[in-house]
């Protein structure tokens, strides 16, 4: 029989319960996870393909539903707030689409680890991989709707200046939050199964208290308080560059601060409880 086995990659396991080296092993999990980004991306694409299997429009349904929501909400709230559409719709487009991305991710990330149970219980893989998979999956979905933004901008002749490039670090901040959030929420929701409904409710509330339908200027003097809303800060790092010539400094500082806190918290809990995850799912 001509059978040539393929050499498999190196493996070395060393676990000492008395000296768990939490931080070191969490870091190597992160490193391994990121080095397998191709697998995470392939799994994310597979998820999308399976979700829209047999559908004619497929993921374009996301763009379509965003568009319908934009038109509907734009006409109604533009009239309610008495703002003309050329002013209101670009704001709504950026806010709503970025928000849908964030909200969709948060709800999805609750199942980061529980939905990967079959793989976690059978294969030794970095947990970071599952967080990347969810982040990629939601980024791919969002990409379909993000395309609407330039179209709306063109229709209303809203051409941003060079400061629009600042939206790139803004998007990057969102992505960092998503990897951290995938691990953090994924772990919390795997351990405590009551958290996902709580999260879903919190996300719904956040939609109304964040300046998505309404413009933050409407708050007048109370606007400084918005810095306490992490969603406002994150939205502003994308919306500011695209619509308002950069966005307020306070929002940027707040966004960086919240991202830092989020990453440290996620990193700490991940390092501390990583070894328990296999028992939680």
């Amino acid at each position: 029989m001509s059978f040539q086995p393929i050499p498999s990659p190196e493996h070395y396991i060393s676990i000492d319960a008395a000296n768990p080296r939490h931080a070191e092993r969490a870091l190597s999990d992160l490193r391994d996870g990121f080095s397998q980004w191709r697998l995470a991306l392939a799994l994310a694409r597979l998820d999308l393909r399976n979700r829209y299997r047999g559908s004619v429009l497929g993921p374009l349904w996301m763009s379509l539903s965003s568009l319908i929501m934009l038109i509907g909400l734009g006409l109604l709230y533009g009239a309610l707030f008495k703002i003309n559409l050329a002013n209101y719709l670009p704001h709504l487009a950026v806010s709503l689409i970025v928000w849908q991305w964030i909200a969709g991710f948060i709800n999805d990330s609750c199942a980061t680890l529980t939905s990967a149970e079959g793989v976690i219980r059978q294969m030794r893989l970095p947990y970071t991989l599952h967080a990347l998979r969810v982040a990629f999956r939601n980024a791919l979905v969002a990409a379909h709707s993000l395309l609407l933004i330039p179209i709306i901008f063109l229709i209303f002749r809203q051409v941003p200046g060079p400061e629009a490039l600042l939206a790139i670090p803004g998007l990057l901040l969102i992505c960092i939050n998503m990897v951290a959030g995938g691990l953090l929420l994924g772990m919390i929701c795997a351990r405590f199964r009551d958290i996902p409904p709580i999260v879903a409710n919190a996300v719904q509330l956040a939609f109304f208290v964040s300046p998505i339908l309404w413009k933050p200027e409407l708050l007048g003097d109370a606007m400084v308080w918005m810095a306490f809303n992490p969603f406002y800060a994150l939205l502003e790092t994308v919306r500011g560059p695209l619509l308002e010539g950069g966005g307020p400094l306070l929002a940027w500082l707040a966004a960086i601060f919240y991202t830092g806190v989020h990453v440290v918290l996620a990193g700490f809990l991940f390092a501390r409880f990583r070894s328990r995850i296999a028992f939680w799912v």
């Binding site: 990659p9 396991i13 676990i15 319960a17 392939a42 059978q122 294969m123 030794r124 028992f279």
Partner: protein
């Protein structure tokens, strides 16, 4: 050189999501040895306790014992999936696990897509992926079915693909849960030949089994587990 070394290994499964309060009363009321409360007062199943052993290169180890003795848990621990709560474990060498050959397959993808997916899971490069595709495709004998989603496979066909994928990689340490048996007689014969090759080329074999013929034929050491402890070794 492959080597497995365990010292005072202890594995406990916490029981979450089962309404621990009432269960605790019920389970802990009876004088039980294996279901107990840990330091944080959670109900845990003590799956393995105080295991110490060293497996050197060249050893063919059979794990035997009744259902629930901890054989599969020990395999999962050696594979690096379950982490011990106590003791020390060192595993040196590439691990190949035949614990569940079908793990990580996507039933809505075709056989070929699943082969590529597995290559990604294993971190193979383009050349190795092509080799795996040719190898597993030929061995599974699926022919034109390779481009059909495995959702549409018969049970035997998906097992053939899973087996072909799981055994295409030569590990130093081979972990098996029960001797593989599935497929028709032709495929069984082919699979036996390949398993034999794989086992001979590996440095360490650890197999959990109830089948004494398998033990006699393949193993040179038997570890007998009972209620999570080693009661016999040799």
């Amino acid at each position: 050189m492959a080597r497995i070394c365990a010292e005072g290994l202890r594995i406990e499964f916490p029981l979450y999501h089962f309404g621990a309060r009432s269960m605790k009363k019920r389970l802990l009321g009876a004088a039980s040895r294996r279901v107990k409360a840990d330091a944080q007062n959670r109900v845990v199943i003590s799956a393995l306790s105080d295991l110490s052993f060293t497996i050197e290169s060249g050893e063919r180890v059979a794990l035997v014992g009744h259902n629930g003795a901890g054989k599969s848990t020990l395999l999962c621990t050696l594979a690096g999936i379950d982490e011990p709560v106590g003791g020390r474990l060192t595993v040196e060498g590439e691990i190949g696990s035949l614990i569940d050959p079908a793990a990580g397959m996507d039933i809505l993808s075709t056989g070929r897509e699943n082969i590529r997916l597995r290559a990604l899971y294993r971190g193979l490069n383009a050349e190795q992926t092509a080799a795996l595709e040719a190898e597993a495709g030929a061995f599974s004998g699926l022919g034109e079915f390779l481009d059909v989603p495995i959702h549409g496979y018969s049970a035997g066909m998906s097992i053939r693909l899973a087996f072909a994928l799981a055994t295409a990689v030569q590990p130093q340490i081979l972990l098996m849960d029960e001797w593989f048996s599935a497929g028709d007689a032709d495929f069984m014969a082919k699979a036996e030949v390949r398993l034999e090759y794989l086992i001979k080329a590996s440095e360490i074999l650890v197999i959990a089994t109830h089948d004494m013929d398998v033990v006699k034929r393949w193993c040179n050491r038997v570890i007998r587990l009972e209620a999570g402890r080693i009661v016999g070794d040799g």
